[in-house]
């Protein structure tokens, strides 16, 4: 859980953005650009799992914008009456990360007996997407039925977030993991292996302004900025795909 302390001077308006943990690299840059275009505005971020952020907002936490890593938690926020209509601002893809001495070079290699594979837990979007992808790959002739079961058999741990999956692969304690492409930017010590895009669920990031926001116009402006060509370019720099 991240704790941010803000000292807002009288002249500054603070825009509070609750954003999914996977956005922790891209969003600060978006924030800086937004602040440059809006003098007197300071953007403050709270990064955490989408599910935790939604729970905090439902319990009364104060924010202006909510950016979720998947539709499910935005839907929950909507049914909890927390947000207005949401828009999609980015997409992401799942990839395999593997240690250089892991012997993993293709998705097929994930079925190797004795391989130590780490995934995100099912409750975390990344984990759910990984399982959905593996199920779809089961029906692909290239992988065959039994693929998902064989891969799942190799799972030694279900981590609570993507960073932990990457950490265990980086440390060499796990041979491979499944994370978002955006998480691999800058990690040169691990191999990145694509998973078939046709088998992946649409990983779409929705964003919405909170009904209880104290700066609704600013919130709308921020969302518009993220969807603008400049905002999209920044997101792509960090490994995200374009808004659908």
């Amino acid at each position: 859980m991240s704790i941010t302390i803000v000292l807002a001077s009288a002249a500054q308006t603070v825009l509070t953005v609750f954003a999914a943990a996977s956005l922790h690299a891209a969003f600060p840059e978006l924030g800086k650009q937004f602040e440059a275009a809006h003098p007197g505005v300071s953007v403050r971020f709270d990064f955490d799992g989408s599910q935790i952020l939604e729970a905090q907002l439902a319990q009364g936490a104060q924010a202006d914008v909510f950016a979720s890593a998947d539709k499910r938690w935005m839907d929950k926020a909507t049914s909890d009456g927390l947000v207005g209509p949401s828009t999609q601002f980015a997409t992401n893809a799942l990839v395999i990360v593997a240690g250089s001495s892991s012997g993993v070079a293709t998705p097929q290699d994930l079925t190797k007996p004795g391989l130590k594979l780490v995934l995100c837990a099912d409750a975390v979007p990344c984990g759910r997407y990984a399982h959905q992808t593996l199920e779809k790959m089961d029906s692909e002739p290239a992988f065959g039925t039994g693929y998902a079961a064989a891969v799942t058999h190799n799972v030694v741990s279900q981590e609570q977030n993507v960073e932990d999956v990457l950490a265990k692969v980086n440390l060499g304690e796990a041979d491979a993991g499944i994370v978002y492409r955006s998480d691999t930017i800058g990690h040169t010590s691990v191999k990145v292996i694509d998973l078939p895009s046709q088998d992946q669920p649409a990983v779409v990031y929705p964003m919405a302004s909170l009904k209880k926001s104290s700066s609704p116009d600013l919130a709308t402006a921020f969302i518009a900025f993220v969807r603008s060509p400049r905002g999209q370019a920044i997101l792509q720099k960090f490994g995200f795909g374009p808004a659908p």
């Binding site: 599910q51 729970a55 741990s157 279900q158 981590e159 609570q160 932990d164 440390l171 060499g172 304690e173």
Partner: protein, 269 residues
């Protein structure tokens, strides 16, 4: 004959003391009640019958019991050693207390970097076919790492409080060191030792950060109750609260039993 104002001051101070104690108790009770009140008896019963909960419960009990055994067997001699100061004993005592100060996740990371596949002792362990991360054994080690200092501190103070005259008398009667330790030092210290072990066991039962970092999270292998609660909370708070209350009720019951058995000598913490 006490001056009336002294008596008044005395009763005011006690009243303030009692009020502060009551406020603190309420602080704990209200927080725990907030959880318990959210769980209906039916939900409680259903949780006790769920596969995931039973698996996590059994794993937690197994691992924390083994952990308590290891702590008792290894911690007791260490605490006895630390009772008489020797050169370096203070440094040693501070060292073994350190895990308590470390954030649990950092403790888990330390264990991973030491005993993991790529760790300091990774190659050596591999030679003996010992692979620790992602195993139930790793759960026990993580729990032991964080809980042992609690027992050692209590045990040391319990041993230090044993009447030295008894020990001297045993020496003059030519009792061996082992006999003295087992028959003269341990019995009076036993209630405090039991209380300290209960404390360490409770800490081991509630351990999360070190466990999930070193041992990982896999149902049936490394998913202990606290991890199950946390994972459940990610999806839906209500089942998580229910499972948390199961853990609470279990721990409360067990701690109560141990304290009763330890006896109310006031030495138990």
């Amino acid at each position: 004959m006490r001056h009336p104002s002294a008596a008044l001051r005395d009763s005011t101070v006690s009243a303030v003391g009692i009020a502060l104690a009551v406020i603190f108790v309420l602080f704990i009770v209200v927080a725990l009640a907030a959880l318990v009140l959210r769980v209906s008896p039916q939900a409680f019963g259903a949780a006790l019958r769920s596969q995931i909960v039973l698996q996590a419960l059994w794993l937690s009990l197994k691992t924390s019991a083994l952990c308590a055994l290891i702590i008792a067997v290894c911690g007791t001699p260490l605490a006895a050693l630390l009772t008489r100061p020797f050169r370096g004993s203070h440094a040693l005592e501070t060292l073994v207390t350190l895990p308590v100060v470390l954030p649990p996740v950092v403790g888990g990371l330390a264990l991973l970097l030491a005993f993991g596949r790529m760790g300091l002792l990774g190659r050596q362990l591999d030679m003996f076919g010992i692979h620790l991360p992602f195993t139930t054994a790793a759960v026990v080690l993580a729990q032991t790492f964080v809980a042992a200092p609690l027992y050692i501190a209590v045990a040391k103070s319990a041993f230090a409080r044993v009447d030295p005259n008894l020990v001297d008398a045993a020496a003059t009667l030519r009792a061996s060191r082992t006999y003295t330790f087992v028959r003269v030092i341990i019995p009076p210290a036993l209630p405090a030792l039991a209380g300290g072990l209960a404390l360490a066991w409770a800490r081991a039962l509630g351990e999360f950060g070190a466990t999930i970092t070193f041992a990982g999270n896999l149902p049936g292998v490394t998913q202990t109750m606290p991890i199950a609660v946390y994972m459940s909370a990610q999806t839906d708070l209500q089942p998580a609260i229910t499972v948390a209350v199961v853990l609470m009720v279990l721990s409360y019951g067990a701690l109560l039993v141990v304290r009763r058995a330890a006896g109310g000598t006031g030495l138990a913490p």
